[in-house]
């Protein structure tokens, strides 16, 4: 049976259309809200993880490192990477900067203090190393009795050479702490060998003079 067109039908049809249009306009907002809620709940652990990683790795302020060297103030204990003094060996006309730490970066700039060893005046093994083709190429010319001076932020220390040894690169006993103050200067050996060397040349020295309690008992 065919339905006749009436005013009532028109009103009903218009209201249906309005309701349909309402659903259509409402759908994107509803879908966006539902999707955001569902995804936020589902990915909550990953979001937390991402934010904790961001807090851990992101720096608050952009710090740009420069090649300028930080020098330790007189009387202060040197922090890692700081230049804290100079070495002077008149016999071989050597004068070079002393740095705290012995990374390749540091050894590219000067003479590195083995971070695990004592500082001058601390009464144990004080280990410094440098490349044979930068500062320590002439260590082989030193003989017992030669003087080595360390001018540091903790004062001036004078040492006297005791002996020299050629050791294997894996021999760690000469960089271990000692009961008496000892200065150990270390470099690669043979001095003029082309290629990576398997041996090390060390010069050992005893303390002659230096200030007491140089680093403030640190």
């Amino acid at each position: 049976m065919r339905k006749e067109k009436t005013n009532q039908y028109d009103r009903s049809s218009r209201s249906k259309r309005k309701s349909k249009i309402g659903v259509l306009w409402f759908a994107p907002f509803f879908l966006l809200t539902v999707t955001l809620i569902v995804l936020t709940i589902a990915s909550r652990p990953y979001i937390d993880f991402a934010f904790s990683m961001a807090r851990m790795f992101l720096v608050d302020e952009r710090l740009i490192s420069n090649s300028e060297t930080v020098t330790t103030a007189p009387g202060k204990f040197p922090s890692f990477g700081e230049e804290f003094g100079r070495i002077k060996i008149e016999k071989i006309a050597l004068m070079g900067p002393l740095y705290q730490g012995d990374t390749e970066d540091i050894l590219g700039k000067g003479i590195g203090h083995f971070y695990g060893s004592a500082l001058p005046g601390e009464g144990s093994n004080v280990v410094f190393s440098a490349h044979r083709n930068t500062y320590f190429g002439q260590l082989g010319a030193l003989t017992p009795g030669d003087q080595i001076t360390l001018e540091t932020s903790g004062g001036e220390f004078v040492y006297e050479m005791v002996d020299a040894l050629i050791i294997s690169e894996y021999d760690e006993q000469y960089i271990m702490p000692t009961s008496d103050e000892l200065l150990t200067l270390l470099t690669c050996y043979p001095f003029d060998f082309i290629g990576e060397t398997a041996d090390r040349y060390i010069v050992r020295c005893r303390l002659i003079s230096g200030p007491q309690n140089a680093w403030g008992g640190v």
Binding site: L31, L32, L58, N133, G195
Partner: protein, 293 residues
């Protein structure tokens, strides 16, 4: 019945949104993040290349200090053109390897120029010391040129391939990335199926499919734009590192560029979604005007 139909349409649209989110993310990964062209520009940017060259020179001087070779001999044997060519090829090969298109990454820097200069130097050294250029010196020369080559190889790539291989991460990445194309195809099929279902549920008003599909695309794009905007707002790129070296430089620029491309891509999809919806509105308006006249 009408409410049930609307609920069904909303449910299908919601599923379509999830499919579109995955598809849009994978498309970005495939077409932009894993596209070597995205990274080529850096090599020719002086601000980046100067930093990279500085790092390579430092690495070669370091090799020199360890092996008793003048650093300038090694740095002088490497030309800008060679570094740029190698870096570009390395990026291409690395991405192909990570995507599983290559079975292995074995690209090596051609050290013949370095070796030739080294040989001359070592022969001079041998002559000065009254000794022949024997097998031992030849072996040391080869070893030093290999060391120099591996330094260049590791600095040219921000991601060290050797490091990836050490932890087996390369195979894990390959397993995921080699399935990108299959995943894309699967998601496109799922998308078409869901649009078809929307079309079926709107059998009296086929054009309404445009509205529902457009809404889904609009929502998925907004959802994907949110993390892009948050990361941009957090200034992640500017806070990636403590030092201003070539790695942080390229990371900072890459993050910024990728974020911009991500936001642009999602913005483009958003516009398409809005156009689909607008298409339906115009069509409906035309229909109403036609029936009124």
């Amino acid at each position: 019945m009408t409410i049930a139909k609307d609920l069904l349409r909303i449910l299908i649209s919601f599923l379509l949104i999830l499919v579109l989110i995955a598809l849009q993310a994978i498309l970005f990964l495939d077409a932009i993040l894993l596209n070597p062209i995205s990274y080529y520009e850096y090599i020719n940017t002086p601000a980046y290349y100067d930093k990279l060259k500085e790092q390579i020179d430092f690495g070669l001087e370091e090799v020199g200090r360890f092996t008793n070779i003048p650093g300038e001999l090694l740095t002088g044997a490497v030309t800008d053109g060679e570094i740029k060519d190698y870096t570009q090829t390395a990026i291409k090969e690395m991405i192909a390897y990570l995507r599983g298109d290559r079975q292995d990454y074995s690209l090596k820097y051609d050290t013949s120029a370095i070796k030739a200069k080294l040989e001359t130097h070592v022969k001079d050294y041998a002559a000065k010391n009254n000794r022949p250029y024997d097998e031992q010196l030849a072996a040391e020369t080869q070893k030093i040129s290999n060391m120099a080559g591996s330094r260049i190889e590791s600095y040219a790539m921000v991601i060290d391939p050797a490091l990836l291989k050490q932890f087996g991460a390369d195979k894990k990445i390959q397993r995921v990335l080699s399935k990108i194309r299959i995943a894309e195809a699967g998601l496109v099929l799922a998308m078409l199926l869901l649009v078809f279902l929307l079309w079926l549920t709107n059998k009296n008003h086929r054009m309404r499919t445009l509205w529902w599909s457009g809404s889904a695309l609009l929502v998925s794009s907004i959802v994907l734009l949110i993390p892009g905007i948050v990361i941009k707002f957090m200034n992640v790129a500017g806070r990636v590192g403590l030092t201003d070296n070539y790695v942080t430089w390229v990371l900072e620029r890459s993050i910024n560029t990728m974020l911009m491309k991500w936001n642009l891509m999602q913005g483009l999809f958003l516009i398409i979604g809005v156009l689909l919806m607008l298409g339906y509105v115009l069509y409906r308006r035309k229909q109403i005007l036609k029936s009124a006249s």
